[in-house]
Amino acid sequence: MGETIIDKIWDVHVVKSITDQVDMLYIDRHFIHEVTSPQAFSGLKEKGLSVLRPERVTAVADHNVPTQNQHLPIENELSKKQVDTLLSNCTDHSIELFGIGHEKNGIVHVIGPENGLTQPGMTIVCGDSHTSTHGAFGAIAFGIGTSQVEQVLASQCLLLSRPKTMKVEVNGKLSTGVGAKDVVLYIISKLGTEGATGHFVEYAGDVFRSFSMEERMTVCNMSIEMGARGGLVGIDETTINYVKERATISDEKLAFWKTLNSDQDAKFDQTITFRAEDIHPMVTTGTSPDTGVDIAETVASSTRNSEKGLEYMGLKNEQPMIGTKIDYVFIGSCTNSRIEDLRAVAGIVEGHKKPEGVTVWIVPGSNKVKDQAVDEGLDKIFIDAGFEFREPGCSACLAMNDDKIPSGALCISTSNRNFEGRQGDGARTVLASPITAAASAINGKITDPRTYLN
């Protein structure tokens, strides 16, 4: 019986099997950020421990940073303290830090891949649930808590139970206007937020094979939203070419990567198959990421809404999603803030202007993405459309900085969570793809992006 890529990668990282269920697993790459690491460093200090392999750790300030005037000191005292604490911890422990203003600064799940730090076959962790993003490279990547951040700093290992495996296959050809975000929102709407709990998912089939690395990252990013411990895509030429452009790879590693893909007869604990043709542009309707519907449908076509959720959203079951008035548009986050996302948005909005009363924030995922957008003249298209083109950070995805959606306002967002209060106390979030957000931005209401294509 063949093996899955998940089992193969897992096996080469087992330092020791402790019990039938728990392995001591070696971690190749550890990303840290300012919000979930300070207590880990304090813990090390209290215990008199040091960082075992600082060269395997990369730090970045992203969750709590302003997206305007990054050259000035952070005004919020608590945010400033967290960012300063990260700097001093990195200095004390010789950890590489991409701080605010650094050319490699950006959202942790954007800068890792972009700088060649994320590579196939690796085990990758970060104190952040969207670490699953890095699975796009054929890696076992997952979010951890702060106690585990401390464990990895001290030992480069974690005590973990072997995951169950799930294959999610999407075959066929996507229609025009349907992209990676729609695919993942569709999968989540079918599986539910707990549908993949306990599993690592391999995304397989025509659709993922044809996706670029950035599209694969969008899909893997939201694996946690179906409860999965992580999600990945097998390693192919697309993966290898992307990594080779960003890092020097030994022949030994290249040869090894090629052995890691799932065998033809690999046995998964669960396999689920979807047809690409069944997927349409998606928007969420409630306060859970599994409440996505075909944009042309009514709220009621999701059966996953709770009464409380719809009341919070101010939406009614019989209401069509298209035409719902919006107040804010957020294009950014580790899900959709990369250059291909910004190009797609620019493609829709060029020559259009947003209506009065709608605020649009475009927050690039990194300084590199921002610079690239400027080089391509995308910033001018955004500014001409009346949008704000900001500096990189997590921003309104979780609203830890000043980028908060006001109470009661409706925001169409390219981020990953529509939980109550996620984008600010009382804020209402509709998750969508970059082109759906873009079309809605220039129309002031939820709009089918296909209206603006062709």
Binding site: K16, P38, S129, G145, T193, F256, S407, R417, G421
Partner: protein
């Protein structure tokens, strides 16, 4: 800590995510203390920080050490602040029909025991304890049993807990201590590891 006997709080909502357990605005701290006051903050307090009397959580005994919550508890963000808030509030056991993986790990690392029961059992517990706010539940970690023995109800279920994590909880061992003790194995592993 091998036995917990306490009244329970019922929160009959599914998919309680960690943003609800502890909103992001409280994650700016650099230490682990004081999060209990912020537990379920946006459900518990209005925009003027006045407690919302209709929030069901507040209708139970403040001293309860057991929380009974809807399916898929702790989904979403990996923030361990959620476990810190629950522990700081005084809750030692959470019962649900399913836990999100990261939360489950965080809970165990903070001495909170997540107990998964069947949906039918969860429903029965919720129905009973919504009414009986002074009836105790007994959780025996050593025996892995959850027992309710009152005049109109008898529940005795066995729950799963990973043997290693159980040993850690019973002996007060931390995962980091265990890992650091095994450093020789780790260094040995690195000698042949190519990635």
């Amino acid at each position: 800590m091998d036995k917990i006997i306490s009244t329970a709080i019922v929160l009959d909502r599914d998919n309680i995510d960690t943003d609800q357990i502890i909103p992001a605005k409280f994650l700016k701290s650099t230490n682990k203390e004081g999060f209990g006051d912020r537990l379920f903050y946006n459900w518990r307090y209005d925009e003027n920080d006045i407690p919302k009397e209709d929030f069901e959580f507040l209708k139970y005994q403040k001293e309860s050490k057991i929380l009974i919550a809807g399916n898929n508890f702790g989904c979403g963000s990996s923030r361990e602040h959620a476990a810190w808030a629950i522990a700081d509030y005084g809750i030692e056991v959470v019962i649900s029909s399913q836990f999100a993986d990261i939360f489950k790990g965080n809970a165990l690392n903070n001495g909170i025991v997540p107990i998964t029961v069947s949906e039918a059992c969860l429903k029965a517990l919720m129905k009973y304890f919504e009414r009986e706010k002074s009836c105790p539940i007994e959780v025996d970690i050593e025996e892995q049993t959850l027992i309710v023995d009152a005049k109109d109800i008898f529940i005795n279920v066995k729950f799963d807990i990973d043997p290693l994590k159980k040993e850690f909880i019973l002996t007060g061992t931390t995962e980091i201590e265990y890992l650091v003790e095994h450093q020789a194995d780790i260094i040995n592993f690195e000698k042949t590891h190519v990635l």
